[in-house]
Subunit: 636 residues, 2 copies
Amino acid sequence: MSSAENFDRAALEQLVTKRFFYAPSFQIYGGVAGLYDYGPTGCALLNNIISVWRNHFVLEEEMLEVDTSIMTTHDVLKTSGHVDKFADYMCKDLKNGEIFRADHVVEAVLEARLQGDKEARAAKAGKTAEQIAAEAAEDASKVDKKKKKKKGVVVAVELADDVRKAYEETLAQIDNYNGEELAAIMKKFDIRSPESGNELSEPKEFNLMFESSIGPTGHLKGYLRPETAQGQFLNFKKLLEFNNDKMPFASAQVGRSFRNEISPRSGLLRVREFTMAEIEHYVDPENKQHPKFADVKDVVLTLLPKDVQLGGKTETVDMTIGEAVEKKIVDNETLGYFMARIYLFLEKIGIKRDRLRFRQHMDNEMAHYACDCWDAEIKTSYGWIECVGCADRSAYDLTVHSKRTGEKLVVREQLPEPRTVELWQVEINKKTFGPKFKKDAKVVEETLNSLSEDKYAQLAKELETAGVGSIEVNGQTFEVTKDHITVKRGTVTEHVREYTPNVIEPSFGIGRILYSLLEHSWWVREDDEARNVLSFPPVVAPFKCCVLPLSGNAVFEPFVRKFSRELRQAGISTRTDDSKASIGRRYARNDELGIPYAITIDFDTVKDNTITLRERDSTKQIRDTFENILKILRDA
Amino acid sequence: MSSAENFDRAALEQLVTKRFFYAPSFQIYGGVAGLYDYGPTGCALLNNIISVWRNHFVLEEEMLEVDTSIMTTHDVLKTSGHVDKFADYMCKDLKNGEIFRADHVVEAVLEARLQGDKEARAAKAGKTAEQIAAEAAEDASKVDKKKKKKKGVVVAVELADDVRKAYEETLAQIDNYNGEELAAIMKKFDIRSPESGNELSEPKEFNLMFESSIGPTGHLKGYLRPETAQGQFLNFKKLLEFNNDKMPFASAQVGRSFRNEISPRSGLLRVREFTMAEIEHYVDPENKQHPKFADVKDVVLTLLPKDVQLGGKTETVDMTIGEAVEKKIVDNETLGYFMARIYLFLEKIGIKRDRLRFRQHMDNEMAHYACDCWDAEIKTSYGWIECVGCADRSAYDLTVHSKRTGEKLVVREQLPEPRTVELWQVEINKKTFGPKFKKDAKVVEETLNSLSEDKYAQLAKELETAGVGSIEVNGQTFEVTKDHITVKRGTVTEHVREYTPNVIEPSFGIGRILYSLLEHSWWVREDDEARNVLSFPPVVAPFKCCVLPLSGNAVFEPFVRKFSRELRQAGISTRTDDSKASIGRRYARNDELGIPYAITIDFDTVKDNTITLRERDSTKQIRDTFENILKILRDA
């Protein structure tokens, strides 16, 4: 197999196009960046990956799969935070209008300057061009790039030591800058277009959701969903009920999501429309153990924990997930359970374990509500690529939607026995309260009855010390005095525990996984003529068996029909290749399509019903009756 | 089973909600008309229908399945005609702003007036309210409504005979009016809002595509695709190549499409976002025979041909598809082949044959490019619903895309032996041509070399009679004289035949099929307590087997786990119901979910490994070992 270091990506891309795994959408119209069509091979591969995913996760765990709308209203995505925060910064070439992602352009320019510095120093030290190139390649493989960006032009210019250090520090934090900071950096380092050298505009925020309008009035704004998760959260109450109110449980969804990327590159790795598969596992925040954790605890994962990264290193450690959870490297059993299950899934479909790692998010990298997050990253010629995110989203989403809609999104659990708890309580002095707050009396009272325990404590203290306290109601501040209310501790007997579940979310980018699988599966046979092979495992191969009549002779036709039918009935997907090419050329085509088995029908078949079975990777052939070979294929 | 006539739709809708087959999207935010989420049962049903579809069509015929972008550029949909023609007319209540589809509101108001007339006449004749209602129901079942619209308020007012006749004639052609005609009708008949009685605005065209913008510039307009077909046509060249240039062949696609309906109603039948499955079968226009037609020729279909409809009737005829093609009722074998295959598919998933018919489009109803079109219509409580269209789209789409992009979308077929054909030929007089047309010489020459045969004939005639002819090049007209060119007939030897294939397109609305299936599968058990049953065939049932432990006793747990695992491994999807409800209540729940089999684990299971198997429709139970019952389920 090709390894990432000396990967001939152009050759793979040629194969991908030739065998129509995928191609730019609307190519005859010139195409549009970031939009791709899957051809018959790519589509079958995609469907098979999804089918394995569904068996591995949904059916195995009896998850509640849903299929929700792509078109989503403004309200929903405003609440989830996407309207305000799902954005990148862009800047424009002031002369030719070309648009760049601001962080990508800074990264590209600084990296090019650092590379130029290195080359200048190496030249001074008398190294050859080859040595420099080899060192550069090594550096590139060390750097963990999640994004591919437009490369800056490298000019061999030596940098002062402090400048070089400033560049390196900036690059180390490139994911964390906001617009103002990026603007300052661009000014400070005189960042210009790496294409034209022209000046760039100040970074401007660009929301990455595709916007549209629902219905004929033009007043109802909608967006194409950026993730499938929100549709699941919104149905939480119905799903819990469907699950007979039993916890924990998971919902799942496979479907299209959209991201209006500023300037998409890197083929399938950064696209504007993509298929995701997401699981939302709802769990008791006070008990994140998983009933089936014992089944996976001995699975060994390659981990890159956050403290290693904080030290500026990328050394991974191999460890059982049992140990990782025990040592608190992974926060809890449920998160660990899913990491192991993700690993088993990726291995099943053909991702190589030595090019797969789990990288923990650093604290500044996580969404503010997440409490732990690990990405399954797969190594490709583009570097380590985030293909599956596995985050503990805490109770964030259910809480914000509940708050916004007034719908309770909680679990109510009958306590084994009633319990007495001490809580803050408010008593309202009706005589003074009503006259004081008049028309606002009702909402102020409601707010007073639903404060957090901390807020009650604060209010009690204010009343005690100053005799007057303040509360906020819908953005307005109201003052209350001892005359209006009393706040004190009291005991309450509870029969039911009510809580908002936390959510553990494994989220799969199917297109990225598919592309990585292409890289991991591809190799070139070193015989007389270099021939491409895609060694997909049978379970995801676009077709499982190719049916080849020796020639166009009509005598083979009934056999082709009969065998194809019986293979299909046994659930083995087939492709008939009765073109006029030689058997050798058809086998080669077969290898390029990644079909694991081929059966050949020849004149002996007509005589004695035997056929030849060829295995793709070994090219070994055996001859037997169709019935026996069908049995082999069925068990393969 | 409930029949369409006395169908209790409210009861079914209650069941659909209770068992979460589907529900309005963003319901906790108030929902949006025409957008629905499928819950676990609906989603599984949907996936299973798609899976049967894929096996029945794609795998069976080795169709080339693709998965193309939903976001589509303006250029593509301008060429396909959707930007200009994919529109409905809307009008607005001038006082309260409510928006209606113009044709629907005309229909609703006129039908209400006709109904009022009928009631007034009946009352005069002394009929009772019950008789009137019964007659109205009978009428409703006779009327073949493809759309459900807001009902007008019925007021018993008698109409003059000529008025009544004018209303009826208008209703008969309601699908064929353009905006101006609708405006005239609305004025003539004083059509007002059936809700408020207010005046309505003039009908205005409203394009039904959701519009958005691709990338950060705001200059690249995109639409959400209204059908999956265009993505297939655009890839025609790659697909033909993938198929080793062999004809005929088919591409296929399953995916989301969008339609920004003006005022969607009727649940899943008229929605803004829906899953389609479409096949584009490319065929030689001179030979529309189908190699497998013999396999289906004896399939009997219920047909409603266009000449019957032209006579104002709806009587169907049952006929084998072989006879229908032979008698030219159905245009050609390939169209007939797919109609039979569509029928077999619908029957397989549980659509009742006595509520399924194929209705031929009348000439004024078809797209202008189509040469024959049959809809598979399924009868529901909303009337006959178009669920599958099966059209011969001729060479329209490939031709327009080819013309617009300059990309040849043709089949080149080696002729068995060369043939001589007489064609128009142009000879250019280089001496005079260049000096005359100067910088335009090249494009004018190119145009002259690629005229249609008709255009050549015309040009030759013009030159002969007037000595001068004109041709159009990119919108500009050029004059050519006998001095510049000679146009004459000449013989050419052809080795290759080049043609644009015709397209036969079976197009499935999966949501409509799913809804119809719910209606056809639903019945109520008439025992002590009326209980709902959904009798889905096992092949599409959301889950195939329910696993029920007798109680929460821990002794049953290992059996639940073991049996569930083994069922899953045998490809039998399961749902465990270990809630505390009684077995009887859980069986009832099971029936409502449409799960065909249930196995119960009780204390005997612990002793001797036997279980009870219950069949949903008959409620019959047998007891046997798990292994034997697994065998039964596997074969079911």
